[in-house]
């Protein structure tokens, strides 16, 4: 456990007193760093990185380069690729379904990001001191995350069922006429997005609970001595000190949402009339690559998606300086 607790605690306390605690991070992501460490640290840093770097090279970077190659070929289903240059990329740019899939994907992403505030609030509630049954709540909120996607899809399709589903039964009680949520082109994407939020709350809860737990206790004690109320403690300690976790979660959330696949795939059957308005870039990728055997064009599509992800991630890293506080 902590080797130098008292030093740390003293410093932590002192820091709170100085202001809101958080100092600017010495390093904030891929911004250029000028000062390099001593030679010895440099060497051990590389040693620390070697094992995973080997794994990445073998299992990710090399396959990725191969796939990049595929995207410039007409991909033979059973081998034998022929070089076609940028033809696949042209197809992707020209295909109207890609634009639609992109629009849907962005909606999923916007909805996915809504998970974060919900998860932060719940994580905070679960951290209330002396609240009974916290362990039980935590386990219950976690259940969606451990349920197989096919089971999740099945159950939610039942709930959303236009004629016999519980959602519409509940709505009819308050006099609202329900719809065929998942097969109506205007609602399907949101209906699925809601399930997406539902299924990943438990996941972000884990990150945020761990994040809140990592906040040194002393900050709160000091704040309480200063007479800070719960709301102020939340906004002036929890949020800023949780910001590395929030930043992490939002980067992951954007990446995951842009790669949304499983849920859409299991919730929309092949003859859903709303298919065009629910498919994401990745379901389209899957359809092209594995159903329609155009791996080349599918790879091109995936690379364009990755470009978008990289761009959004880069923007997030640039913006983090404004709001993320590292110790």
């Amino acid at each position: 456990m902590a080797v130098f607790p008292s030093t740390a605690a003293a410093q932590a306390r002192g820091k709170y007193r100085r202001g809101q605690g958080a100092r600017q991070a010495p390093d904030s992501g891929p911004a250029p760093t000028r000062n390099r460490g001593p030679r010895r640290t440099q060497r051990s840093a590389y040693l620390f990185l070697t094992p995973i770097a080997i794994g990445f090279l073998v299992f990710y970077v090399w396959p990725l380069l191969q796939t990049l190659g595929f995207s410039f070929t007409s991909f033979g289903v059973f081998g034998g690729n022929t070089w076609v240059g940028g033809e696949n990329y042209e197809r992707v740019v020209q295909d109207v379904t890609v634009g639609r899939a992109l629009r849907n994907t962005l909606i999923y992403t916007a909805l996915g990001l809504c998970t974060l505030p919900v998860a932060i609030v719940i994580a905070n509630l679960l951290n209330r001191r002396g609240l009974r049954g916290v362990a039980i709540y935590r386990a219950l909120y976690f259940i969606p995350f451990i349920t197989l996607p096919s089971a999740v899809g099945l159950v939610w399709n039942w709930l959303y069922n236009g004629d016999f589903g519980m959602v519409n039964q509940a709505l009819s009680v308050i006099g609202v006429d329900g719809r065929y949520w998942v097969s109506d082109p205007t609602t399907a994407v949101y209906a699925i997005g809601l399930v997406m939020i539902w299924s990943q709350i438990g996941y972000y809860l884990i990150i945020f609970i761990a994040g809140i737990k990592a906040i040194p206790q002393d900050y709160y004690e000091a704040a309480e001595l200063d007479g800070a109320g719960p709301l102020r403690r939340f906004f002036s300690i929890t949020l800023p000190l949780l910001s590395p976790s929030i930043f992490f979660a939002s980067v992951i959330c954007v990446i995951n949402s842009l790669q949304q696949f499983d849920l859409i795939y299991v919730m929309t059957s092949a003859n859903n009339p709303a298919l065009g308005s629910t498919e994401s870039v990745l379901t389209l990728f899957y359809q092209w690559a594995f159903e329609e055997n155009s791996q080349g064009a599918a790879a091109a599509l995936a690379f364009l998606l990755m470009l978008l992800i990289a761009l959004l991630t880069y923007v997030q890293f640039r913006l983090q300086k404004r709001w993320v506080h590292y110790a």
Binding site: G29, T33, Q42, A45, Y60, L125, R129, T147, L159, I212
Partner: protein, 301 residues
């Protein structure tokens, strides 16, 4: 409402007893409206979270025609466990559970070791090419898993590992997600800890192992849980590398119960409910580690 009755306080770490984040001071406990409201909100949330799981279990007790009948019946006509028995006879269930366990263990241990090392280097060390390397690592995170299936399959095949347990977990042992997650946690630790240790003459590995790593235990627990879930429920990859039922994890095995035209839902639901139990247990076990948090408070000294 004695304090000792709360599951929280049953946990060994005194740190958690400190007041943070909440409104409930010891003096206001008895008339705590805030607490009631909190429970109301959390309960409602819990019902929404758990309902589908309950439905899953209820479906497992229905007969096949009952499970697809409309309007759906909420409770099964009778509580027969046929589906549970059937899932055990239709699949080499225990063997598959074993594979899942090894797969999960392999990936999780691999990630805990490899990712924490890399994350520490990225968060706390200065070296040439750090940002470029980190960007490359992150880009691994941006690759949709489905994209790499073909070349990855080929690599596993060249290693002669198709239809084996290592095939399941090898690529998954290396995770950009894990590096990123742990890096965030390492970065939020106070700098002074390391400096003090360095002054004491500790080397990088020592500082990492005995000073910094213990401090990110909640994050390690979080990573362990998240990785376990992903490995446990992973589907496409196992289906592609291990077509042999004896080498399949349970997630993949269960999907072989899905029919082309009509699925036997009770059996599938029974199977997936049983299959998610080990994860629930794991979560309950690891949850203690989040709760414990880091003992940065002076009380531990």
């Amino acid at each position: 409402m004695p304090e000792s009755a709360t599951p929280e306080s049953a946990m060994p770490a005194p740190a958690t007893a400190g007041a943070y984040g909440g409104t409930a001071g010891p003096r206001r406990r008895r008339f705590d409206k805030g607490s009631v409201a909190t429970h109301a909100v959390l309960c409602l949330g819990a019902v929404i979270m758990v309902f589908p799981f309950v439905w899953q279990v209820l479906t497992a007790y229905k007969t096949m025609p009952e499970s697809v009948q409309v309007p759906p019946s909420f409770l099964p006509e009778s509580w027969r466990g046929d589906a549970f028995r059937e899932v055990f006879s239709a699949l080499p269930f225990l063997e598959m559970l074993g594979n899942s366990l090894l797969n999960t263990l392999g990936r999780t241990l691999g990630q805990l070791v490899f990712c924490s090392l890399a994350a520490y280097a990225f968060a706390r060390m200065q070296f040439r090419g750090k940002n470029v390397l980190f960007a490359i690592f992150l880009s691994v995170l941006m690759v949709p898993a489905q994209l790499l299936i073909l070349p990855q399959h080929q690599i596993i095949q060249e290693m002669g590992l198709l239809n084996s347990v290592p095939a399941l977990f090898l690529p998954g042992m290396f995770s950009a997600f894990g590096v990123f997650l742990l890096r965030q946690f390492f970065m939020s630790l106070p700098k002074e800890l390391e400096e003090a240790a360095r002054i004491d003459g500790a080397g990088s590995l020592r500082i990492f192992w005995s000073v910094m790593l213990p401090l990110v235990r909640p994050a390690l627990a979080a990573l362990a849980v998240i990785t376990s879930m992903w490995s446990w429920n992973d589907l496409l990859w196992p289906l592609v590398v291990n077509t042999d039922p004896e080498a399949m994890p349970i997630s993949a095995g269960l999907t072989s119960l899905e029919g082309q035209f009509l699925t036997n839902y009770p059996v599938l639901m029974a199977g997936s409910a049983v299959a998610s139990l080990p994860m629930l247990i794991l979560y309950l076990l690891l949850q203690r580690h989040f709760v414990q948090g880091i003992a940065l408070s002076g009380s531990k000294a």
